[in-house]
Symmetry: C2
Subunit: 196 residues, 2 copies
């Protein structure tokens, strides 16, 4: 296989990148100069060398413990559980959470053979034993995410000192009622709050 086809092959392994897109990206990268592919190769090598899971929370980071676990300003009594490390930046963007994180590395999915032992759950139990007062279970609002949340709630029931919460479900801010699905509207109505 020639070098260009080899690059196309590697690019098609990425999620959401089909053969046509891979071909377009590969040609784009080589078209101007050798600098394009080398810069991206360098960034990839750095990631392979430096990035790994944080031993505390499972976040992907160049440091262990990661930037959140070693930040003395974070509230260590509140732990937000997420499915993937990529969910952390979404929550950080909200600017409304100042606690620590815990990355499960997936969700319970019996059909795919993913059970509790395949997730970063044992470490969560250890962390919760060490002075955590609230666990916010921010797994996705999908069927599997809900099942995972329910599992964690039962697991943590044995520790009455720990409050287990789940982010509210409802209408997305800036969304349009007309285009919201019935289940979301239902959740929004059930979770309605008195106006201030």
């Amino acid at each position: 296989m020639n070098a260009l086809d080899g690059l196309v092959e590697e690019l098609t392994r990425l999620p959401g990148i089909g053969r046509k897109t891979a071909r377009r990206l590969a040609y784009y990268l080589v078209k101007r100069s050798n600098d394009g592919p080398r810069r991206l190769a360098g960034a990839l090598e750095r990631v392979a060398d430096q990035v790994g899971p944080c031993g505390e929370c499972g976040n992907l980071s160049d440091a262990d413990p990661c930037e959140y676990c070693r930040d003395p300003r974070r509230d260590t009594a509140t732990v937000c559980v997420v499915e993937e490390a990529s969910d952390i930046s979404a929550i950080e963007r909200s600017g409304r959470f100042g606690g620590l994180y815990h990355v499960l590395g997936g969700r319970l999915s019996p059909l795919d053979g993913v059970g509790p032992d395949d997730l970063n759950v044992a470490r969560l139990e250890e962390r919760v034993a060490g002075g955590v007062s609230e666990v916010i279970v921010a797994t996705n609002p999908s069927i599997e995410g809900e099942a995972t949340a329910a599992y964690l709630r039962r697991l943590l029931e044995t520790r009455p000192a720990v409050k287990v919460t789940r982010p509210a479900q409802g209408l997305p801010v800036g969304g349009d009622l007309e285009y919201a699905d019935g289940v979301t509207i239902g959740e929004a109505l059930v979770g309605r709050r008195e106006m201030q």
Copy 2:
């Protein structure tokens, strides 16, 4: 900047890849193991090391002359002019062309400051002088592609021995008349052929 953000930054330079997609790809690459980023980095390095323009036709290839230019079975009297090297594989997929290629490296675009001197035109004139009987101008059927085709036709008018042709425009095979735009239908009618 940490390694992960650096990779996201590099990925957003690619066409059609926004910040969200770049972030998703970066996390996908590091999530499982260090093998993912390294394989892609290796493929990129190989491309940077090995791929360059063919001195004959401008195709991007690991060899110079490229696979088409050095293939003794290709018809050297017919040259198909394309805008980009990536167009060659599209034409090869048709299986209906056995001549040589010539890559312009773009199209005339006065608004972007791209004139004839910015394209691989001088080399085309040299090649045409050496026993070429037909030049198929397969630039894109866009305004700029048409302008480029018109320019090349005028340029090659000085060589009456060389036939300059353009691929037919019309309805795409397997397409639906109902969804075709008026200009395409018009071209299809103008270019109509007697049924055999």
